[in-house]
Amino acid sequence: MKEVPVKSKELVPSKRIENFDEVVLGYAEGEALAEAERCLQCRNPACIAGCPVGIDIKKFIKEITDKDYKKSYFTIREKNDFPSICGRVCPAEYQCRKRCVLTKKGLPFASEEAINIHFLERFAGDYGIENSLEVPVEKDEKLSKFKVAVVGSGPAGLACAGELARRGIKVAIFESLHKVGGVLQYGIPPFRLSRDVLDYEINYLKKLGVEFVPNYIIGKVKALNELFVEGFSAVFLGLGAGVPSFLGVKGENLCNIYSVNEFLTRVNLMSAYKFPEFHTPVNIGSRAIVIGGGNTAMDSARVALRLQKAGGIAPDTTILYRRTEIEMPARRLEIGHAREEGIKFRFLVQPEEFIGDERGFVRKIRCLKCSLGEPDSSGRRRPVPAEGSDFEIPCDLAVIAIGLSANQVLTSVTPELKTDKYSDVVVNAETMETSVKGVFAGGDIVGGEGTVIEAMGMAKKASQAIINYLLKLISQKG
């Protein structure tokens, strides 16, 4: 057994900040074999319990060491519809890898020694794509007369649509934006998730017969109940968490202060980094500040740095976070990538006010210094700002990346759809069914901001419940 974990090849930092190309290149066969070989094949593998969808990790890794990559791909596909996507974006260091027996204890995340399960998953997933492996379609004649509407084309919607279409159900996915993929399209930058992978999965669904309807907002152009009138027998809501949170401090509406969603949407969805070839603009500054400690903060900081580079500005992007590095919810891999690219970090800092110039553009941020107090409801130590510790940071572009909450376009006009105090849709945890008969939900619209894999897990559970629901409709009709 090799002791040293096999790292994935990556684009070198000095070059990759000149473009938006995917940074992690993934394992070649030899690297995958060497890393898979490190797996101890534990009798009671804890990693599987660490996976939100319970992928048989031990088995798929063994199949890699056996060089049966096809089998390995299908083992993952039993639980996860999109291994290539999850292998790239899953926060494995907080999930499966954290539970790996090789990880050193005492950290809130996996240590470097843990098996690189995510890279192996990506390897198997990409093998599946390269060899056009397809999970056999199990069409059920009884189900083929049904139409199901999926609202939202993010990870949850795509996964649910795929599961239903494979059983022969006609599926239409309604998407409000002009491109499908949800957060995979507008949120996650291409340097973290190649759009080729996303396109492959979308095309696969099209091949399965899934109909994509972009530019179509359920709740505006059609009410939820109208979908049933139009012949859909069930509906899955994968509405997502897309409403950006703001700090609620003075000066927050100054020019060049972006929500993380606006900044990433302009760049990822609207290709503002190709302005003026693409017509949507995005501004950049010489002192870019990103506020937050999650993955969207890392993503937007790395986008800002690339925009500085492209604009001929000396890269100068800083992440401000109220706690310390250890409490950051972002992936350790991406914190590392950001640091390698030259992103600076300032910890224990809380923004109090944005100060602008006479034209209304942000010029500096007044902050307070923090210390860490007792753990809060999230289990992380609470930042305590010190009164009178005010200081200013120069800033001519700010991105606020402190969280996202439920999309409310549909729920706000559908009173019969029960929501909780966070405006998330309330579901039966067993079936993912909402308060409206025949309407199911999953992803971030249930329980708030989560991960791609959690969204897919919920969607898969919902798809099974939808199938049961449809079968019941048949038996009721006799």
Binding site: L177, K220, N253, N256, S259, P281
Partner: protein, 266 residues
């Protein structure tokens, strides 16, 4: 650099079927294009079309103006935003400036048919840029026209007429609503003029937007001290509560880039 006013009818039976007065669509001319919001001016349920009226100003509106009958847009979504609340208010004054006249037209028509006494004040820079005079005449009880250069109607700004009109008539007539759409400065001025008369004043803001479904916050505006998103909370807001100074500044965020792309592509 002319500033043609262009009318476009777009086939979209679904949007036409749902569109209410005051609502808007976002559209993209091409895959490379911007998503821009435009108010739905009219709809034809029989034909399944909606009508947009716009003034050629930046790149996207010029690209729209250059389309020919039969061309297709890359994308269009709607109807977005809240529709105007249509009910019997009593006496109403509608103020439209420039291409904003097109935006008050569907509101005027709906309010008129709800039994209101509708007075409209329309303003344009010059006679040639005045639009929909005939149409508005048909759906209002009183119509006043102003041009900046005096080439038609009264010389001056709509707010001059509004100010005089209110001073003259407020003793005799109780106005329950003023509804104004036009350039930001005009709407701001309407708010200033109507404030002392204590008349509820609604404006439809033309904030910059991206997704226009509440996901980006580009269109945020401070109303009554609270952050609102024009796209999902608006586009109509209480004019007396809007932070106009902030609106003006936020609308100028991309001025330089807009000039740059216009120089390159027009």
């Amino acid at each position: 650099m002319g500033s043609r006013v262009v009318r476009i009818d777009i086939s979209s039976p679904d949007i036409a079927g749902k569109a209410g007065p005051g609502q808007f669509v976002t559209l993209m001319v091409s895959e490379e294009g911007e998503r821009i919001p435009l108010t739905i001016v009219d709809k034809d349920l029989a034909k399944g079309t909606i009508t947009l009226i716009l003034q050629e100003a930046g790149l996207t509106t010029r690209l729209l103006g250059a389309l020919s009958a039969g061309d297709a847009l890359y994308a269009m979504t709607g109807p977005l935003g809240h529709a105007t609340e249509i009910k019997k208010y009593g006496n109403i004054i509608l103020v439209g400036g420039g291409v904003g006249i097109a935006e008050i037209y569907p509101v005027a028509r709906a309010l008129k048919s709800a039994g209101n006494h509708v007075t409209a004040i329309l303003g344009a820079r010059t006679k040639d840029l005045l639009i929909l005079e005939k149409e508005l005449k048909a759906v209002t009880d009183e119509l006043h026209i102003t041009t900046d250069d005096g080439s038609y109607g009264e010389r001056g700004f709509v707010t001059d007429v509004l100010s005089k009109f209110l001073a003259d008539s407020v003793q005799r007539i109780a106005y329950s609503l003023i509804y104004a759409v036009g350039p930001l400065l005009m709407m701001k001025k309407v708010a200033v003029v109507s404030k002392p008369f204590n008349i509820r004043t609604i404006v439809s803001l033309n904030a910059l937007m991206v997704d226009a479904t509440g996901m980006c916050g580009c269109c945020r505006v401070t109303v009554g001290g609270r952050i609102k998103f024009s796209c999902v909370d608006g586009p109509e807001f209480d004019a007396h509560q809007v932070d106009w100074d902030e609106c003006e500044k936020r609308n100028s965020i991309y001025e330089e880039k807009e000039k740059h792309i216009c120089r390159l592509k027009i």
